[in-house]
């Protein structure tokens, strides 16, 4: 059994704050939107929690960004090898085939994570999109909704508060679905708790080929 130190402490802290924050934001977001049919808390409380946690996650995002910029790992880990697109596409298909078929018939996971290449091609594309595009978009549109007057300039860039709200809501829907799938995928290690445990300890266990 090989142990790979995949998740450094700052990343783990960021991840768990983000995970809890996301769940809270999704639930309070639902409470704000469905105030007439959900009774978890009052509208005012939901807005207060949503705003506080939103700002915590903005700060958290910058911890992540700062860590990956300072360590220079952002490029290595998150950017797919666009200079060898054919190989990347092939690897992506292989990875998708694994999740759709190989995993059923007992194939080995084609991706073997290392600290410098911890994401498989599908993860790499997904997390790049999420971390570089979707989360910043959610942050910006969230800020516009948090204080439309203060961020009226930003709202104009988007073409109005309606579009900002549309983006924020669509991303809320996406993240709601994503977080479920993400949790499920996290159980697809060599044991159901393997990846989850790794996100606490930092070490990912991997069976060595014999």
């Amino acid at each position: 059994m090989k142990r790979v130190y995949l998740h450094p402490l700052p990343v783990r802290i960021w991840h768990w704050i983000n995970a809890i924050g996301f769940i809270i934001l999704i639930i309070t977001g639902a409470q704000i939107r469905f105030v007439d049919s959900m009774g978890l808390m009052s509208f005012e409380t939901a807005v207060d929690i949503h705003s506080w946690v939103g700002f915590i996650l903005i700060a958290n995002y910058f911890i992540w960004l700062l860590y990956y910029l300072v360590t220079g790992k952002l490029f290595k880990i998150y950017i797919p090898p666009f200079w060898k697109p054919v190989e990347f596409i092939k690897n992506s298909i292989r990875q998708a085939r694994y999740y759709g078929y190989g995993i059923m018939v007992g194939d080995k996971n084609p991706h073997h994570p290392t600290p410098d290449n911890k994401f498989n091609p599908l993860q790499q594309v997904s997390y790049l999109m999420i971390m570089v595009l979707l989360i910043p978009l959610q942050i910006i549109t969230g800020l516009i909704l948090w204080d439309p007057q203060f961020f009226s300039g930003l709202a104009d860039v988007f073409g109005g508060i309606q579009i900002a709200s549309l983006i924020h809501t669509v991303l809320w829907i996406f993240f709601s679905a994503f977080i479920i799938v993400h949790f499920y995928l996290a159980t697809l290690g060599h044991t159901p708790m393997a990846h989850i445990k790794a996100m606490f300890t930092g070490y990912e266990e991997e069976h060595e080929d014999h």
Binding site: A30, I32, R33, F34, V35, D36, S42, F43, E44, V47, D48, S51, W52, F55, Y99, I103, M104, V105, G106, L145, W146, D147, P148, Q149, F150, A155, G159, G160, I161, Q162, I163, S165, L166, T169, V170, W172, I173, F174, S176, A177, F178, I179, I180, V181, Y184
Partner: protein
């Protein structure tokens, strides 16, 4: 001896006199009555202090038409033996009133009613028989009629206090003061010189609607001698005769020369004519009183002004004759008079909804005169309610709503800073409420309003006043500070020009007549814009302009905006608006320059449509205007998110034997 002789002579005379009859025509009862009533000093004193002579001149009575009749014919229950005790009589009128029915014993009422005018006099009962005909010395009417001059004949009745009530309920006096006529310039005239349609045998009856018509008809009498040709020599006077009746200035019977003395002080000179009930007539038939009450001027803010300081084209030597199409045209010009001194106020008024409305023909809309009066221009009062009453005269509903407000309580308490109508709506530049930015009026007094709202209206973690501004931009103060029905008002704005689109601009962009705009927006004409109609209209207008809809929450009925509650009672529950079930209606307003907007009800679900995103870009009420389809998408995503693991796990369970076999090397 001498005494006995004198007494004998007296007794003899008495006996002789008793034996000689007075005259055969006089009946015995008359003689009996005259025994006392021939005493010249016999009189009765009335309660009023007046006295009635009870003396009867026997000879005169003998010659009268009633001479051959006995006293008891007219005084049925009185004779020497049975003379009632003296009674109390209030006054002479009461006396004749009480006595007159006795005449009817011989002169039945039917007969008296036959001559029409006599009939009217009898019926009205203002004058009684004996007042005209006398009591004991009544001569032959025929003889009197022949002998009497015209004036005597007319005055026989018209010296009395007679009145005529017109259909307008106005009363005109028919009493003529003979002395006044004698002193007048017409002193030598007989009545029929002027009243030529009357004579001793002719007394027409005229039915005038009102005093005005009466005066106008009377004026025609004057023009028989005072012809237009003669009057035209003085143009101002001639113009006056066309609008005012002669009698306004010259009187009825006491006609006096109304020469105006130029040396009079200017205001007095003008008032020589204008203190009277004269009026001017417009081409369309409307009339306007040009009477000026000196007492009103003296009480007004203009009391120190001379007439010509306002009426600059007039003087003691100049009186231009002006001609106006209508009262509206006259009043529009009258504004120029005010503008001589009050340029600032007039300039502000000119941009007001009142000016625009007046221009469009709304006669009720105020101009300077409607609020400030003609000559009774009042001082600016410190009584806030009094000055508001002027507005409430027309805006009754708003006035009533204001009475329910905390502001009205403050006014009643006499608080110096309590607002009245003009505090928010201005006095002269009163703008339509949809463009007046009335919230600024609130902020004028409630200066720290942003800070006070920011105490509770903020999003953590930062207490930014811009969050308060967000709400101020999209809702009016009255929306939260009144407990009334609210609505979202959508207005068309040109995003490229950053301005509100006016009705004419919208019509122009759609290439239709302004009158067809209503049908264009609401094609089925049901007064409500359905979702489809709204987006179709937006799609048409966006072909030509960068039009978009902007929303604002306000009270549905603008009068309700006056019902401001105390701070404690205002709405602080965010979910009141930020809920899909918020009790709000939706309206579409197309602005119209200077007047109230064109307003339609909008199907509220239109605000929850996907089409709202490109068409209402800058207005979004969290919760209330949410795009409904996204809720469906959220639940589908949740189901999808759960379905993926479940499906995958199911496949993994189903394929477990394959993996087992492979692990076992089979």
């Amino acid at each position: 001896m001498r005494g006995i002789f004198i007494s004998g002579i007296v007794i003899l005379c008495f006996l002789i006199s008793y034996m000689i009859p007075l005259k055969d025509a006089i009946s015995e009862d008359v003689k009996a009555c005259l025994k006392c009533h021939e005493i010249k000093t016999l009189q009765k004193r009335l309660d009023t202090g007046e006295s009635i002579s009870l003396y009867i001149d026997g000879k005169k009575f003998e010659k009268s038409v009633h001479g051959p009749m006995g006293c008891s014919s007219c005084h049925p229950n009185i004779n020497v033996r049975n003379h009632p005790k003296p009674r109390k009589i209030a006054n002479k009128k009461e006396y004749v009133k009480e006595f007159s029915p006795n005449c009817l014993n011989c002169h039945p009422k039917d007969a008296l009613m036959k001559p029409e005018v006599h009939g009217i006099v009898v019926k009205k009962g203002e004058i009684y028989c004996s007042e005209c005909h006398g009591s004991h010395y009544i001569g032959s009417i025929k003889e009197w009629k022949n002998k009497a001059s015209f004036n005597e004949y007319c005055m026989a009745c018209h010296k009395f206090d007679m009145t005529k009530t017109l259909p307008s309920k106005e009363k005109i006096s028919l009493k003529v003061n003979e002395q006044e006529i004698k002193k007048s310039v017409h002193g030598k005239f007989q009545c029929i010189v002027c009243h030529s349609d009357f004579s001793k045998v002719k007394h027409p009856i005229y039915n005038f609607k009102d005093k005005k018509q009466y005066r106008a008809e009377m004026t025609k009498i004057c023009t028989k001698c005072h012809t237009d040709e003669k009057l035209k020599k003085n143009p101002a006077h001639y113009a006056l005769t066309k609008t005012a009746s002669c009698i306004e200035c010259h009187g009825y019977h006491g006609v006096k020369p109304a020469k105006v003395v130029r040396a009079l002080p200017e205001n007095q000179y003008c008032l020589s004519c204008h203190s009277r009930a004269i009026s001017m007539k417009f081409k369309n038939g409307e009339t306007l009183s040009v009477q000026v009450k000196e007492s009103e001027i003296l009480k007004s803010a203009h009391k120190k002004l001379k007439c010509t300081e306002c009426h600059r084209e007039f003087s003691t030597t100049q009186h231009p004759i002006r001609s106006f199409e209508s009262l509206a045209e006259y009043r529009a010009k009258a504004k120029d008079i005010c503008n001589n001194c009050h340029q600032d106020a007039v300039k502000k008024y000119d941009i007001s909804i009142h000016a625009a409305s007046l221009k469009k023909g709304n006669k009720e809309s105020p101009d300077c005169l409607k609020c400030h009066g003609y000559h009774n221009v009042s001082f600016i009062t410190k009584d806030k309610m009094a000055s508001s009453e002027l507005c409430i005269r027309c805006h009754r509903e708003s006035g009533k709503a204001f009475e329910e407000s905390v502001h009205h309580v403050a006014v009643k308490q006499g608080k110096q800073n309590a607002p009245n109508c003009s505090s928010c709506h201005n006095s002269h530049d009163v703008l339509p409420v949809n463009i007046a930015k009335l919230d600024n009026a609130c902020i004028k007094c409630h200066k720290d309003v942003k800070t006070t709202h920011n105490k509770w209206l903020w999003n953590p973690p930062l207490r930014l006043t811009t969050f308060v501004e967000t709400h101020f931009n999209s809702t009016t103060c009255a929306s939260c500070h009144t407990k009334t029905q609210k609505a979202i008002f959508l207005t068309l704005v040109d995003k490229a020009k950053n301005k509100t689109l006016q009705e004419d601009e919208v019509a122009k962009a759609l290439n239709i007549d302004i009158k067809a705009l209503k049908t264009k927006i609401d094609p089925n004409g049901d007064g409500k814009i359905e979702e489809k109609e709204l987006w179709q209209f937006m799609s048409s207008i966006k072909e030509k302009t960068k039009a978009n809809l902007l929303g604002k929450i306000n009270v549905l009925n603008s009068s309700d905006a006056h019902k401001i509650e105390s701070r404690e009672k205002s709405i602080k529950d965010c979910a009141y608006c930020h809920s899909p079930n918020a009790p709000m209606k939706s309206k579409l307003e197309i602005n119209r320059e200077g007047t109230k907007p064109l307003r339609f009800e909008v199907e509220t679900k239109a605000l929850n449509s996907l089409y709202a995103i490109p068409n209402i870009k800058d207005f979004y009420v969290l919760g209330f205007t949410k795009i409904q389809i996204l809720d469906v998408l959220f639940f589908l995503a949740l189901i999808g998110g759960i379905a993926v693991p479940i499906g995958h796990i199911t496949l993994r369970i189903l394929t477990a034997p394959i993996r087992r076999k492979r692990r076992e090397g089979k």
